[in-house]
């Protein structure tokens, strides 16, 4: 199917690539469908809204920047996303790039959980105080304490 995007123009994607977010994202409750676009600029992806060509987020898998990031995925969330196997679960975090790109951060407190197999997604908020909303990507890794 053809997808209109502001940043990439019209792109061709497979229907199967669509991911449903029944509850949208925080602050974007009405955005129920996204596609995850890989980029040349690893490890970053674009999370592109299907309905809104202008809306896209830079996201990344967190462990390249925070290797000991971990949390339990609540059973209720697993059920919501029809998770039957750990292998189906992908975790990505929203990246913010301020005016000084050296200061770029990712949101460890509110990861986005995707069930790749079922094409379902949800953003959750972790109770763990160790994880910040703004985790600097370019810092020297020290153990998160």
């Amino acid at each position: 199917m053809k997808l209109e995007t502001t940043r990439f123009g019209e792109i061709d994607i497979d229907e199967k690539e669509r991911i449903n977010f029944p509850q949208g994202l925080y602050g974007f409750k009405s955005e129920k469908e996204f596609v995850l676009l890989a980029t040349d600029e690893t490890p970053f992806f674009w999370l592109q809204s299907v309905a809104n060509p202008e809306l896209a987020f830079i996201v990344t898998e967190p462990w390249g920047f925070c290797s000991n990031y971990e949390f339990d995925l609540k059973k209720e969330v697993q059920n919501e996303l029809n998770v039957t196997s750990k292998d189906d679960v992908m975790v990505i975090n929203m990246v913010v790039i301020p005016d000084d790109p050296q200061e770029m951060t990712m949101n460890l407190k509110a990861p986005v959980i995707i069930n790749r197999k079922e094409r379902l997604g949800k953003q959750i908020i972790l109770d763990d105080e160790r994880y910040a909303v703004k985790y600097k990507l370019l810092q020297e890794e020290r153990s998160v304490s």
Binding site: T42, M104, Q123
Partner: protein, 85 residues
């Protein structure tokens, strides 16, 4: 907004599944207990607001940034590789 007045130890029910209890009152701080099904999220309001604001900031990104930032990440990786030698 529905406004109710409660004393310490008194509760409010939201539908028949959520209970909010005034556990104790100390000066201008009120301890609230919340009993809700596990599939209902409960967070301090500031947290929600912070996450929403962060998402909105994240949405405010133009394409050209990405190539430059990828270079910064590469540089960091190379440096890390060198440091480990």
């Amino acid at each position: 907004m529905l406004v109710l007045t409660r004393k310490a130890e008194e509760s409010i029910m939201i539908s028949d599944e959520i209970e909010i209890k005034v556990v104790s009152i100390e000066g201008n701080q009120i301890r609230l207990g919340i009993d809700a099904p596990q599939d209902i999220e409960v967070h301090r309001k500031e947290i929600y607001e912070e996450i929403e604001a962060e998402n909105k900031e994240a949405a405010d990104v133009q394409r050209q940034n990405l190539k430059d930032i990828a270079k910064l990440v590469e540089k960091k990786e190379k440096k890390r590789g060198l440091d480990e030698l």
